[in-house]
């Protein structure tokens, strides 16, 4: 191995920082999946009949489906009967105030750098914390309620806002959309719900932190965001999990709907446990995220920084139905060691003068595989549709792989589609140049990678951007040196 590669090798082999486990009592369902489990989940949540029926319908459908094999990832057969589909921290009475949160749980979130306290008011972030599929605390509910904004757990929404849930759930990601979405529809345990009324600009970032804690537990949460006419919201999602030898399944659904002239920014910093250096353990992150630009002039922006998970399978997409609507996707996907990522976006142009933009930055190190997969589809009615896609890959060392699968389908000749792709390597020259100015190799790599990802990181809300930068450095720590 050349010196250059030895260097890269070392830098990409750091330890996962969030791998601790919290000792809290759990209330868990037995392993395995059948109709009774679905019923159990529903009854644990005290759900209305319509919700149970929905789940059962999804479960029936799921039984007739098979797992997709087209992603460019490899993993052993998942035994769906060896997974626990419901686990909740025992403390389950509804919480009146944050002071009621189990201190052990509170410490968990503190360790993760997430404060559930009032001080978050200063930074202007409202937080919904979800541990092992159950929402444990939502902050600032009252303050938001004054504006008519609803920000609560999915389960609460099912009880308190059934009309909204029934109207929108499954309207963007249908129950039978794909294998993992259907599974989620049957067994989802909780998630976040957010509704911004007409004309309201949400004054703070809304944020959900997901944490898998219990062993052998799948996490299946759903997020539903609705922005009414002329409203605006910026939503953040962060995730971590303990280090475990067995793989954990995370199959989530995010549905977002933007009405006329509404704008939704959805940012994710995903740092699920990636497994160890040899590829043992780690989260399988199989997620369906889709936004509907329903009204004219609406806009949906996805920004993601993906550093975790053993396997990522995820394509946040926009359906540009309204005329003049805009969809954006900004992504940084970092894979190291044995990680595999197959991620990208779909932009479906339906309305006139719709615009979309895809900026994807892949960084591959170690023996990882990083694929971009994107679809730009222009339907016949979409006069003057525009798309610009930029897919860059940065390679560290010579054992990793970067792949690009761009698909373009145009059924309107006025469409204007541009696609650019580049592949580059962090060069020994660049590192030496930094070294010669006093910057050590690890910092040099962080500097170069951050520079490469700048366009995407700039799209994140300030607080998150700083976190994401640190995370990039941390993920690549030990991959050069």
């Amino acid at each position: 191995m050349s010196k250059d590669n030895l260097i890269l090798d070392k830098l990409t082999s750091s330890e996962y920082k969030y791998g601790f486990e919290t000792n809290i009592e759990n209330d868990s369902a037995p392993k395995g999946l059948n109709e009774d489990i679905v019923r159990l989940i529903s009854s644990k949540k005290d759900e209305p009949e319509w919700m149970l029926e929905w789940r059962l319908k999804a479960f029936k459908k799921w039984q007739s489906l098979t797992e997709p094999k087209w992603p460019n990832v490899k993993y052993p057969e998942i035994d769906y009967q060896n997974i626990i589909y419901y686990s909740a921290p025992k403390q389950q009475v509804s919480l009146d105030s944050l002071d009621d949160v189990d201190p052990e749980l509170r410490r968990t979130f503190e360790k993760l750098g997430i404060s559930l306290d009032e001080q978050k008011r200063l930074t202007g972030v409202a937080v919904d914390a979800i541990i092992d599929s159950v929402s444990v605390a939502t902050t600032f509910k009252d303050k938001l309620a004054e504006l008519g904004i609803i920000f609560c757990s999915f389960n609460e929404a099912v009880h308190n806002h059934p009309d909204l849930v029934r109207k929108y759930m499954g309207s963007v990601v249908p129950m039978n959309d794909n294998y993992f979405a259907t599974l989620n529809s049957a067994v989802f345990s909780d998630g976040s719900f957010c509704y911004i009324p007409k004309g309201v600009r949400c004054p703070m970032e809304l944020s959900t932190y997901f944490r898998i804690n219990a062993a052998n537990t799948g996490q299946f949460e759903r997020t539903l965001i609705i922005a009414e006419e002329g409203s605006y919201v910026s939503y953040l999602e962060g995730c971590t999990a303990p280090s475990r030898d067995e793989n954990q399944l995370h199959a989530a659904i995010v549905e977002i709907i933007a009405a006329k002239n509404a704008e939704i920014k959805y940012s994710t910093v995903q740092n699920w446990y990636p497994g160890n250096k040899e590829g043992v353990g780690g989260v399988y992150n199989f997620v369906t995220k889709r936004g509907l630009c329903e009204g004219n002039g609406s806009k949906i922006s996805w920004t993601q920084v993906e550093t975790g998970s053993a396997i990522t399978w995820k394509y946040p997409s926009c359906i540009l139905k309204g005329d003049n609507s805009i969809g954006e996707f900004y992504s940084v996907a970092v894979t190291n060691n044995m990680q595999q990522a197959d991620t990208g976006s779909k932009m479906i142009h339906i309305g006139k003068n719709t615009k979309s933009r895809i900026v994807s930055k892949g960084v591959s190190a170690g023996s990882s595989q990083n694929s971009y997969r994107g679809l730009v589809q222009v339907l016949p009615r979409a006069v003057n549709a525009r798309n610009f896609s930029q897919c860059d890959s940065l390679l560290m060392g010579d054992k990793c792989g970067a792949h690009t699968f761009p698909y373009i389908e145009t059924r309107n000749s006025t469409a204007h589609i541009e696609h650019e792709a580049t592949t580059s390597k962090i060069g020994e020259d660049q590192i030496f140049y930094c070294n010669q100015r006093g910057i050590d190799t690890e910092d040099a790599v962080a500097l170069i990678v951050n520079g490469y990802c700048k366009e995407v990181l700039n799209k994140l809300p300030m607080e998150f951007a700083v976190e994401a930068q640190k995370l990039l450095a941390l993920t690549l720590e030990g991959s050069v040196g």
Binding site: S424, Q430, F432, Y433, N435, Q436, G438, I439
Partner: protein, 252 residues
């Protein structure tokens, strides 16, 4: 400040430096001249710590410490600066950010606190004037799409900000028009003081009209075959390297 003793180095089994001896004291300016391929850049790279070269013999002491024992970043933090013959491009990283990281690493090494943004910007502004470099260049990606002259000027700008003890300028003059040459020379002259030293690597004597060296050395086939004062540079200019070549053949 720098004592090079019988330094021998090779790359890919090919010996390039064949026993270099050189002493540089604080306050001095040395010029190293020599034909293409004689090993000037190799010497500069070996001193800076590039690891593709193998040092087979000799020693180098820098400010009383064993230079060859240090990592490249440590050498830089101790005050060694190399202005690259071919500066490297780093897309997405602005010169300003890059320099800020460098300044703070060096300060950390010296036990100083990181420089705050305001002080740093003041420093940058001051040094920008010195080398007449434009703000817009500094906010662009480092060396990315810079012209040859802009890259060279940016190297000198970095030197001005980092204030090294020993600066090695590898062919900084090549690719510069006469105005830029004057600006670069002016920068070097202004920064010159009794505590630092400069090594100017060049194969034209042109730059030496602006920066007057205390000593001139001729590097030929991996060895310093002649040393003298600035008159030697003029003599070289007049007679060409063939003169040294013939001389060398007579003596060896």
């Amino acid at each position: 400040m720098l004592i090079i003793d019988n330094l021998k180095a090779s790359i890919e089994e090919k010996q390039i430096l064949k026993g270099i001896n050189l002493q540089i004291k604080a306050g001095e300016v040395h010029a190293i001249m020599g034909p293409n391929g004689s090993g000037k850049s190799t010497l500069a790279s070996v001193l800076a710590g590039r690891d593709s070269y193998d040092v087979s013999d000799g020693s180098v002491s820098f400010l009383g410490k064993d230079l060859l024992d240090m990592t490249p970043e440590l050498r830089a933090r101790e005050g060694l600066f190399l202005a690259f013959q071919y500066p490297i491009e780093i897309p997405g990283v602005s010169s300003t950010n890059f320099l800020k990281a460098a300044v703070n690493k060096i300060r950390e090494h010296r036990g100083q606190d990181a420089m705050d943004a305001v002080t740093f910007l003041k420093l940058i502004k001051e040094k920008m004037k010195l080398v007449e470099i434009d703000q817009s260049l500094l906010s662009r990606s480092l060396n990315d799409g810079f012209s040859g002259g802009e890259k060279k000027r940016n190297e000198i700008f970095q030197m001005a900000v980092l204030e090294p003890r020993l600066a090695i300028l590898d062919e900084t003059d090549s690719g510069l028009d006469i105005d830029a040459l004057r600006i670069v020379a002016n920068g070097v002259n202004t920064l010159r003081n009794k505590d630092n030293a400069t090594v100017i690597v060049t194969h034209y004597q042109r730059l030496l009209d602006y920066i007057i060296p205390d000593f001139v050395h001729v590097l030929y086939d991996g060895k310093i075959v002649k040393s003298g004062t600035k008159e030697l540079a003029l003599e070289l200019e007049e007679k060409g390297y063939d003169w040294i070549r013939e001389d060398e053949q007579v003596t060896s």
